[in-house]
């Protein structure tokens, strides 16, 4: 099969111009519409998960008050909150949403290489969400096994939804993985093969590097979840004993024998740890572009940033058992996994340094997206540093399964990616909608979210130091927990409610500005990357009008000395402007 360069394919490539409302907005194969569909559904389920977290917080803050929260419902809320946020919101929104929107635009293509598969990906995702939500309406309700779904407890008595809810969860995960695989094949192929002329790998914006690496991680990691889901499903439905050991159920010997619960944990975390980076790497990429654009300065140490993304991605497959230090696995594994885990801190720290060094000597425009990006640096530093506690095996022993863990992972993969999401949503809003958002509302939203979440999670670390265990419906009367800790919990709940309510500002802003926002120019931020250089805003079907753009330079030509503007778009021919500034040792 001969390879046909895309430049030649361009005309032959049937674009399936949509004709009717249905083909344009529902059964659409346009990556931008699919991106918005993905984003809309993800944010919708995210709101449900937010509601569930408020239910949890109400119970924790005011344990004797709310008659609609019983222990079973509490554990179901914990489980569904975690699963939805990690998989159905963050993974879907970063890759399905931003991946879909930005990849073809930033790579200068007309669409994904397999538009039909892309559409299918969204509909499978929607189906997985519907199956997941359906589990709220079946007898017994959704699973309350914790988002880790550890066997044997996820499918044995004593766990809410141990018959129906868990089955729906496993089916939903299976469908999600199929959806992700279809999308992922598209992203990888498009980025590797279909970039426009002149767009070499090292000219790609970091957003694409982050999304690309995360997608590759996802393609390799989700199989582990799929395998564990299938095997757990076998144990549940067919009564096999892959993970299920000999055990008692309410005084009776169960029919299981010999299975290994630790095997499930290995499989789960072989997915679960890369999953952290599936969420984090796109966030790293997107925030790099936001920071660089609004600092009017090139991203500092671009090559290091790319290598760090790749190194983090590679290392993320070698650290999974740091979630299992107290699991009862062979304790000698601890030496290996503690070492690999702390090694990962080095490239991660470098990324942080480079973000800050990008701001250094910049010309920082402190608008809403930039505020969110700066907020992200702060929370990510905080969450990353607490990771050094938990990664170091001996320190993890007292802290494992306490609120310290909860605070850590919410800081590092809850708050931080969500701040990036908002930064990115505000940053690309003018391109997606053709309107500017309301800056004042955006800033108020930032302050409420940033300060509010810090008020939630900073004190929570200290409950963990105290030894307060996570996943407790209530502490009851516990000697080592002072009354002040309960007061602190109540305050955390109030902060959580405040943050949740503050999100209304975001939705008001998005919907209000859709009609009433100032019309956005094609490139309101003065950004260099290709998506800002489209002939139309929002980009029309096919993105580029008559001719695909050519790329003449890297993605970060901001404030180039000797140039009258403080940015040079990637598609601006380079011959006219010779760079005067070269770093030491630079050569062409």
């Amino acid at each position: 099969m001969a390879y046909v360069p895309l430049a030649d394919q361009d005309d032959a490539h049937a674009l399936h111009d949509p004709q009717t409302f249905v083909t344009k907005y529902i059964w659409s194969q346009d990556h931008k519409v699919i991106a918005i569909q993905y984003g809309g559904v993800a944010i919708f389920v995210g709101l449900i998960a937010l509601g569930l977290s408020i239910i949890m917080r109400l119970q924790l803050g005011f344990p004797d008050t709310f008659s609609f929260i019983d222990p079973a419902f509490y554990y179901q809320a914990v489980t569904m909150h975690g699963m939805i946020m990690v998989i159905y919101l963050l993974t879907a929104l970063f890759l399905g949403g931003f991946g879909n929107y930005l990849i073809p635009l930033m790579c200068g293509t007309r669409d994904m290489v397999f538009p039909f598969l892309n559409m299918l990906s969204f509909w499978f995702y929607l189906l997985s969400v519907l199956v997941l939500l359906a589990s709220f309406f079946i007898p017994g309700g959704p699973t309350g096994a914790g988002w880790t779904l550890y066997a044997p407890q996820s499918i044995s008595m004593g766990t809410p939804g141990y018959e129906g809810g868990i089955l729906f969860m496993l089916i939903s995960l299976g469908i999600f993985i199929v959806a992700f695989t279809m999308g992922g094949l598209n992203y990888v192929t498009t980025i590797l093969q279909a970039r426009t002329r002149g767009l070499t790998l090292m000219r790609l914006p970091l957003s694409i590097w982050g999304i690309f690496t995360a997608t590759v991680l996802g393609l390799f990691a989700f199989p582990a979840l799929l395998v564990s889901a299938i095997m757990l499903g076998f144990d549940l439905i067919l009564g096999t004993s892959f993970f299920m050991p000999a055990m008692m159920e309410l005084g009776e010997q169960s029919s299981y024998d010999g299975g290994s619960p630790i095997l499930f944990q290995h499989l789960f975390w072989f997915f679960g740890h890369p999953e952290v980076y599936i969420v984090a790497l796109p966030a790293f990429g997107l925030v790099s572009d936001v920071i660089s654009t609004h600092a009017r300065k090139n991203i500092f140490g671009y090559r290091m940033m790319v290598w760090a993304i790749i190194a983090i991605g590679g290392l993320s497959f070698m650290v999974w058992a740091h979630h299992m230090y107290v699991s009862g696995m062979n304790p000698y594994f601890g030496f290996f996994f503690a070492t690999t885990t702390l090694i990962i801190a080095v490239p991660t720290a470098l990324k942080v340094y480079n973000w800050v060094l990008t701001l250094w000597q910049g010309n920082i425009r402190l608008n809403t997206p930039m505020l969110f990006a700066i907020g992200f640096i702060f929370t990510f530093v905080h969450g990353g540093l607490t990771g050094l506690f938990l990664g170091n095996v001996i320190i993890d022993i007292p802290l494992a399964d306490t609120y310290f863990v909860v605070a850590h992972f919410h800081m590092v993969m809850g708050v931080s990616p969500v701040l990036v999401l908002f930064a990115a949503l505000y940053h690309w809003y003018p391109k997606v909608t053709g309107r500017m958002f309301n800056e004042t509302l955006g800033k108020v939203h930032f302050w409420c979210t940033f300060l509010g979440t810090y008020a939630i999670y900073l004190p929570m670390h200290y409950l963990g130091f105290l030894g307060m265990p996570r996943r407790y419906f209530e502490m009851g009367s516990t000697d080592f927990v002072p009354a002040s800790a309960q007061a602190l919990n109540a305050n955390i709940t109030l902060a959580a409610i405040f943050v949740a309510i503050a999100q209304i500002l975001f939705f008001v802003n998005v919907f209000w500005s859709l009609r009433n926002g100032e019309r956005a120019s094609g490139n309101p931020w003065g950004a260099t990357t290709l998506e800002w250089q489209t002939p139309d805003t929002p980009p029309k079907h096919g993105n580029w009008g008559e001719e695909l753009p050519s790329v003449y330079r890297w993605a970060y030509d901001y404030s180039v000395p000797g140039h009258k503007q403080d940015f040079i778009p990637q598609n601006e021919p380079g011959e006219e402007y010779e760079k005067t500034h070269h770093t030491a040792g630079g050569h062409s």
Binding site: P5, T189, T200, L238, T240, G259, L263, R303, W554
Partner: protein, 208 residues
């Protein structure tokens, strides 16, 4: 190595179109071929993880090696023949100017797929056979894994057959699109991959 050079050069020092007028894909293959390759890597990860689980579970102590029914050998032969047919379809398609359902390429393609269907049916019979002789899915972890591995393999094959059937139907309807050349090619690659996976699985299942 150009990929290495790509990721180590200093992009800010290079202005202009470095590679002339064309864009530069990383791999010199079609998009479909690349996607299939990536998918086969993903499938390999799935089967590898299953085998890792297999060996870990085997070490726990209640493992009784199962005796594989002879029909599995017959099924394996079907799958090999299926792969051979698809490969000959590829060879024929290179020599033919148009591919139709009665052309040698079309016929080989059709027969190859039908043999794969027969394989799936044969595997289904093996499950029934095992269940009848008291070697059901719950009888022993070795049996559980037999069902698990064969069904995951069959699920992958069914995915291939879905693509095959779409092409086969349009072939029967008289379509002679150039697209078939690529479809035949990709199906053959995928079939060989699944054959290799199956032989690997069969080897492990029969020997442990």
């Amino acid at each position: 190595m150009s990929l290495y050079r790509d990721v180590t050069n200093k992009p800010w020092d290079q202005v202009g179109l470095p590679d002339g007028i064309e864009n530069k894909p990383v791999f010199a293959v079609s998009n479909e071929r690349l996607a299939l390759t990536v998918f086969m890597i993903i499938a390999s990860v799935i089967f590898s993880l299953l085998l890792v689980s297999y060996y870990i579970r085997m070490g726990i102590g209640d493992w009784v090696p199962m005796s594989i029914p002879t029909q599995v050998w017959a099924n394996t032969t079907l799958l090999i023949l299926s792969s051979v047919c698809l490969q000959s379809a590829v060879v024929f398609s290179r020599k033919q100017s148009t591919i139709s359902v009665v052309s040698r390429a079309g016929l080989s393609f059709g027969i190859g797929g039908l043999l794969a269907v027969a394989f799936v049916f044969g595997q289904y019979q093996v499950w029934g056979l095992l269940a009848e002789t008291g070697q059901g899915v719950r009888s022993n972890p070795a049996n559980s894994f037999f069902y698990l591995l064969t069904s995951v393999h069959v699920a992958h094959l069914l995915g291939g057959l879905w693509v095959w059937s779409k092409s086969a139907i349009s072939l029967i309807q008289g379509s002679t699109s150039e697209h078939f050349r690529q479809t035949i090619n990709l199906c053959a690659i995928y079939w060989h991959f699944l054959l290799v996976v199956w032989i690997g699985l069969f080897f492990v299942l029969a020997n442990t």
